[in-house]
């Protein structure tokens, strides 16, 4: 073993660690399967960074995830995504590719999830945004951050309020549109009644956060394992 593989420099790893919720070890965790799949002839031109610690299989079996995530990102579009990220390449994957990942395929909110993590709001994710998405949805992320992103996900018209139309769309996605419009209306009215504290018949972020922090199973349901 003893392959000194780098796809990222040390500074990039530090920056990723600070901005996401994976520890250094976790960042460098890699799934054996992904690494083996992603080893291509290009990696023969391996650049070593002097300050990067040697991550060997035997030494740190736990160092996985970052290479693993990159492996997954690469798998989605092997011809688009370069293996070598040391020069900060700029490539974005479209919504349609990401939404077909097995972790997201059955989720009724998958398009909204990807859109809320993309900078342009259209769902095109760069690798950084991809990592952000999975780190917020991991079990390590704190509750406040998850609440912020949950609010963004449920806010379909992106006006920083969860108004009745947003709730109706959420409900229809949840029940696959099997409720009649009157029933949908009734449920949305009841929800707004319960959670709206400042009386403007739509939910602002503080209303939402107030309600969601008291939900017993928010953390366990708002979580994707990758």
């Amino acid at each position: 073993m003893g392959n000194k593989q780098t796809i990222f420099t040390d500074e990039q790893l530090d920056a990723y660690q600070d901005c996401t919720f994976f520890t250094r070890k976790e960042i460098l965790r890699y799934v054996l399967r992904s690494v083996l799949q992603t080893v291509t002839p290009q990696l023969c031109n391996i650049k070593e960074s002097e300050s990067l610690n040697i991550i060997t299989f035997a030494e740190d079996i736990q160092s996985k995830h970052f290479q693993g995530l990159h492996g997954r990102y690469h798998e989605l579009a092997p011809h688009l995504v370069p293996m070598d990220y040391t020069n900060d390449p700029d490539c974005k994957l479209p919504l349609a590719l990401i939404v077909n990942m097995p972790e997201l395929k059955e989720n009724p909110f998958r398009s909204r999830i990807v859109e809320s993590f993309s900078e342009d709001g259209m769902g095109n994710l760069s690798f950084n945004e991809f990592v952000d998405m999975f780190s917020v949805l991991s079990e390590m992320a704190p509750r406040e951050l998850k609440a912020i992103y949950a609010f963004k996900i449920y806010d379909y018209n992106v006006d920083n309020y969860l108004c009745k139309e947003d709730l109706e769309k959420t409900l229809n996605k949840l029940t696959k549109e099997e409720l009649t419009p009157e029933e949908v209306e009734l449920v949305c009215t009841k929800t707004i009644e319960e959670a709206d504290l400042d009386g403007d018949s739509k939910l602002s972020y503080s209303d939402f956060e107030n309600m969601i922090t008291r939900a017993p199973d928010f953390l366990s349901t708002f979580h994707i394992r990758i």
Binding site: E106, L167, L174, E183, D198, G199, T221, F222
Partner: protein, 607 residues
């Protein structure tokens, strides 16, 4: 992406807290996976929902309770008798007389079912335990026996009360205003970890059914509000008639049990099979009544026009009354029809033992002789008339929980007379778990109407509490009987035989304690202490209730303040905007006025 440095110390602290959290989560996961049957419960939850899982969780809790009771029994009762032996005394002869009366003194396999013969002379029943060589005034086998039973009942009481209170707190104290059920259902309803299409479809249908239940309740409350006076009168009349029907059914059930008890007394001149059936006639009639009547109550409550949850709760209340009252009636009949100077304690113990065994046999036969053939008929001949009549099987949670509560009550009532009943209970509960798992997974389909388990789970634990109270009352009554007419009611077997009643033994122990203790104990058990105690409890209770009310009022006030502060904010923002507009309008007016003035004062100079 912005790269910002947060410094080494901060980053180290963050990574440490993340590691700590991970360790906690892993420990919690490891502990919960150590709990027995965890993966089975997970599978059941995935397929049938939270309600059915709650039944199995309740079953597991009862297994723990029985195991605890078992350890207490072996510590307090079996241990001393094993170490210190027992003295063969007149109790044995009473037992001999009794068993001769039943079977002519021959032991056989039937004894296992009837609790006679060799079982009667074994540690299973109270008659086995006598005052052995451990004979100190305050540390003797009878006293340890009593202490074991009382500790068992007290511990069970504490555990059940604690669970009832926790459930009550979650369900009713939070109230409709503070619990945001609908919001949780919508925003936390979807489990993001689902990757399997089949589970996704199931989850969609669960969410939809949940919402439909809520909508149904809304519809019902609207309909209820719109009832005219005439409709209301008719409805109340109907309800009175139905309740009378329920009462008469209950009366009929009790008569049936009485006749069964009387018939089972007559034993002379039949062969062994008929005698076996006759001996089991009371348990059979009780089980029959408990099997049929709850379904009739369910049908009746569907005519009474209540909301779904109220219907379920009404059926539950009636069924539990039926079960507990039938058990109480049966005990009363046994008490009044037992002749003295037989070993009455053993008789009681035998009846409880038979009830326990028969309950388990009924569950077993129900599963394999009713549910499984029904499922086979559905599978093999789905379009036949029989299949249409029988319908698809659903796991009726309330009735199954009632069965569990009833068997646990029997176990508690009988533990004084049959100390190994918790052990029998544990074994039967574990077998019941696997039998019911078979029934649920193989024979039942998922219930479409989601049963709102939360409010009924408080009711289940409360029913368990009622059963425990009934056991305590029965025990107290039998001690009291021993005390009032010691010559007539003297027990002739067991640790408290031949005049050494419970009160005698405890009095001997209390008087042998060092000097201030007996006096204080006498004072504590007298009325002079009871009255101040009750007064103090009333005062403490009042203070808690008023504190709770004050907190509720404070919460309402704070909510109003929140609404007002946000409307204040909006008002101020509007004011601010208006002021800005005015100011800018004034400025332009002033500016244009100044320009006009300038123009007037300074005639435009020609450049």
């Amino acid at each position: 992406m912005q790269i910002s440095n947060i410094g080494f110390w901060e980053s180290w602290r963050q990574s440490q807290s993340i590691t700590r959290k991970r360790v906690w989560v892993q420990m919690g996961g490891a502990l919960s996976s150590l709990l027995p049957w965890q993966h089975i419960l997970h599978a059941i939850e995935g397929k049938f929902g939270v309600g059915v899982k709650a039944y199995f969780v309740f079953l597991r809790y009862l297994v723990y309770l029985n195991l605890l009771n078992c350890t207490l029994t072996s510590g307090f009762i079996l241990g001393p008798t094993a170490f210190y032996g027992r003295s063969i005394s007149s109790g044995e002869s009473a037992i001999m007389r009794d068993s001769k009366h039943l079977f002519g003194g021959n032991d056989s396999v039937l004894d296992f079912f009837l609790g006679t013969g060799y079982l009667e002379r074994s540690p299973v029943f109270i008659g086995f335990y006598t005052r052995g060589s451990l004979d100190l005034p305050c540390l003797n086998t009878p006293l340890l026996y009593l202490a074991g039973i009382l500790t068992m009942i007290l511990l069970s009481l504490i555990m059940v009360v604690r669970r009832t209170i926790v459930g009550y707190k979650h369900t009713w104290m939070l109230g409709k205003r503070y619990s945001a059920n609908m919001s949780y259902k919508i925003f936390c309803g979807w489990d993001f970890t689902i990757q399997d299409p089949a589970s996704a479809t199931l989850k969609h249908s669960f969410i939809r059914n949940d919402l439909k239940l809520f909508l149904e309740e809304q519809n019902f409350s609207m309909r209820e509000a719109q009832r005219t006076l005439g409709q209301r009168v008719r409805l109340y009349l109907l309800r009175v008639i139905l309740n009378l029907i329920v009462v008469s059914l209950l009366g009929g059930a009790f008569c049936l049990i009485y006749f069964a008890t009387i018939t089972s007394q007559s034993m002379i001149g039949w062969n062994w099979l008929v005698r076996l059936v006759l001996q089991y006639l009371p348990p059979m009639s009780i089980t029959f009544v408990n099997l049929i009547l709850p379904h009739i109550f369910r049908k009746i409550s569907s005519f009474e026009d209540y909301s779904f949850t109220t219907q379920v709760n009404a059926t539950l209340v009636r069924s539990i009354f039926l079960k507990l009252a039938s058990l109480g009636m049966y005990l009363f009949f046994v008490l009044t029809t037992t002749k003295r100077h037989q070993c009455m304690e053993n008789r009681f113990g035998r009846e409880m033992y038979k009830l326990c065994i028969f309950n388990f046999l009924a569950t077993f036969c129900n599963a394999f002789l009713l549910n499984y053939p029904r499922k086979l008929v559905q599978e093999k001949f789905p379009t036949s008339f029989l299949a249409w009549v029988l319908g698809k099987q659903r796991f009726l949670i309330p009735f199954n929980v009632l069965d569990l509560v009833y068997s646990q009550t029997v176990s508690w009532v009988g533990v004084y007379y049959c100390p190994l009943l918790p052990l029998i209970g544990t074994v039967t509960l574990i077998a019941t778990f696997y039998i019911q798992k078979f029934v649920v997974m193989r024979c039942c389909v998922a219930e479409q109407r989601m049963f709102r388990a939360s409010s009924s789970s408080v009711l289940f634990h409360f029913m368990l509490l009622l059963g425990l109270l009934m056991a305590a009352v029965t025990l107290g009554y039998s001690f009291h009987l021993q005390n009032i007419e010691p010559d007539i009611n003297m027990s002739s077997c067991g640790p408290f035989q031949n005049g050494k009643t419970v009160f005698n033994v405890t009095k001997v122990c209390v008087e042998s304690l060092p000097s201030p203790a007996p006096a204080t104990l006498y004072y504590l058990s007298s009325e002079a202490f009871a009255l101040p105690l009750i007064l103090a409890e009333i005062i403490i209770l009042t203070s808690y209730v008023s504190r709770g009310r004050a907190n509720q009022k404070a919460i309402e006030r704070l909510k109003d303040m929140l609404v007002m502060s946000s409307s204040d904010k909006r008002f101020l923002v509007k004011q601010h905007a208006t002021m800005l507009r005015c100011r800018s309008k004034n400025r332009t007016k002033v500016h244009s006025a100044a320009v006009v003035e300038d123009n007037w004062q300074d005639p435009p100079s020609t450049h």
